[in-house]
């Protein structure tokens, strides 16, 4: 049996809301409702669903960016809570949807070296990790380039490199193909398929999910409504349409 990396049980979450006397407080404001799943080391999971179903929130919960949830999240048997945050985050790399939010240092080297330096590694090890991370996404030539001078595709790859330098066991990506042109998108797919990390990817781009994932979680209204292989879910037109999605473009008849 594969080693379980993430175990989510009965997860529920609601954002804090400003009390509005005009609204009925009994209204259900939960974003995530009773979500349970297990993710193993061979999994490359695509979380799909219409806008606002809670995909990005679920990812944020998995890395502890929101902690006031109920239920349980265990990452490699470590329960996710405030006191275990740093241990959990060492194991997980999270790539933001907006690369500009992820890249804040002056040049690519500085940004990729940010995590290893924070973990107090010696300079030689920092250099080695930066080199390996950049070569994993084939952008060694960008090492000294200022972050503001990167293209959208380059920023996305640098964002991935910034988390690879942490040597995470698990990679979470929020809408990785957003705002990428077809060439950069294909490049990203090829790179992701080279990784042997466990991956959890949220996206509206079902073709991207089709090309990169071996398991799909379909979300609707804060819940997981289907869990299966790409063949089982992405080819099921009725299921997708019932949950506000369409067949991947590559499967549509023209």
């Amino acid at each position: 049996m594969s080693h379980i990396h993430i175990n989510v049980e009965n997860l529920e979450f609601a954002y804090d809301r400003v009390k509005d006397t005009r609204k009925d407080d009994s209204q259900d404001n939960r974003i995530i409702k009773d979500v349970s799943f297990r993710a193993c080391e061979n999994d490359s999971i695509g979380i799909i669903g219409a806008n606002g179903v809670g995909k990005s929130t679920l990812l944020k919960l998995l890395v502890g960016l929101e902690l006031n949830f109920t239920g349980q999240i265990r990452v490699e048997e470590i329960p996710l809570e405030k006191k275990t945050l740093s241990r959990v985050r060492e194991k997980i790399g999270y790539v933001f949807q907006d690369s500009d939010s992820q890249l804040f240092m002056t040049n690519v080297y500085q940004d990729v070296a940010f995590a290893p330096r924070n973990y107090g590694l010696p300079q030689e090890e920092v250099d080695r990790r930066v080199k390996n991370a950049l070569s994993s996404v084939h952008i060694e030539h960008l090492r000294d380039k200022p972050v503001h001078a990167l293209s959208g595709g380059e920023k996305k790859l640098v964002s991935i490199a910034t988390i690879l330098s942490m040597i995470p066991d698990i990679i979470l990506m929020d809408e990785p193909s957003a705002a990428l042109d077809p060439k950069n998108r294909r490049n990203l797919i090829n790179i992701l398929n080279e990784f042997d990390h466990m991956k959890i990817i949220t996206s509206h781009d079902l073709d991207f999910i089709w090309d990169t994932c071996n398991r799909i979680l379909l979300m609707a209204d804060g819940q997981i409504v289907a869990d299966g292989t790409p063949d089982e879910i992405l080819k099921n037109k009725e299921l997708l349409e019932a949950n506000g999605l369409e067949l991947p473009l590559s499967l549509m008849q023209r």
Partner: protein, 275 residues
């Protein structure tokens, strides 16, 4: 909009300048920080009527500009916003201080009358304050242009400036670019829907500034999340330990000697008396 782009570009240019592998950039950051602080202190300490003394302090920036290959023209361009503010400080002195400080001979007229220009204490103190302001801002510019913000913060930590203040300085420096980027987006969105309009209508300012603030707070929160996810625990990495070498000690020592000599002796007057 292009002004915001230029501002972002200027910040990036300054950062790149500071990262260059030049002679002055290689000097220990603590030495540069200490000399800058001392220079500012010494320059400000001159009496308001000691114009020649203040002027003599220009020696330090002149030497550094020559040695470090910094462009004086670019420096003036980058300081263009601050300099007028600094220079305006003493502009009212001539109106309040009318005591005669000296005369400048302008020659004699055809009928043998000596023409002189009366220089009041107010004029001298105004010029003195302007030069002081110019020189101190220039010294700060030299420090920023030859030292990265991380190294300045490293030097601050060496002199035991509290960790939280140093981290704040670093984050604010990063936040400036972030705020400018958000401002650029908001102004761009406005101008695309207000063709042919010069600037932004007064009535739109409130909502634009509010939007900008909310957006930049969101961005700041995302950046902070991103930092935390990569092991940030409240202390920014501010560079590898920088070795203190002989040339750093020599530079510090020569700087101190120059400052002391120019502060304690009227060097310009002494040189003038030689001729």
């Amino acid at each position: 909009m292009s002004k915001i782009n230029k501002a972002i570009g200027e910040i990036q240019n300054l950062t790149q300048m500071a990262e260059q592998d030049q002679w002055m950039n290689r000097i220990h950051p603590l030495v540069k920080l200490l000399l800058t602080v001392m220079y500012i202190g010494v320059t400000v300490s001159f009496d308001k009527y000691d114009f020649s003394g203040v002027l003599s302090m220009a020696v330090y920036p002149i030497i550094i500009f020559i040695l470090s290959d910094l462009s004086f023209k670019n420096a003036l361009y980058r300081m263009r916003v601050v300099l007028p503010v600094v220079c305006i400080v003493g502009v009212f002195n001539p109106f309040f201080d009318k005591e005669v400080a000296g005369y400048i001979e302008l020659g004699t007229t055809a009928d043998g009358v000596m023409r002189t220009l009366v220089v009041t204490g107010g004029v001298v103190s105004m010029l003195s304050l302007m030069v002081k302001g110019f020189l101190t801002v220039t010294a700060a510019y030299i420090l920023i242009a030859t030292t990265t913000i991380e190294k300045i913060c490293y030097a601050l930590r060496l002199i035991h400036v509290p960790k939280i203040i140093v981290t704040e300085i670093l984050l604010i420096y990063r936040y400036i670019t972030l705020l400018l980027t958000e401002a650029k987006r908001v102004v761009q969105a406005y101008s695309l829907r207000a063709p042919g309009q010069n600037g932004i209508k007064f009535s739109a300012w409130g909502s634009l500034v509010g939007q900008m603030l909310i957006r930049s707070m969101d961005r700041a929160e995302n950046v902070y999340d991103s930092m935390c996810l990569r092991g940030f625990d409240g202390e920014f990495f501010i560079g590898e330990k920088v070795a203190f070498r002989g040339r750093d000690a020599a530079f510090l020592l020569s700087g101190i000697v120059v400052f002391v000599v120019f502060r304690c002796f009227p060097v310009f007057e002494m040189v003038g008396e030689l001729f």
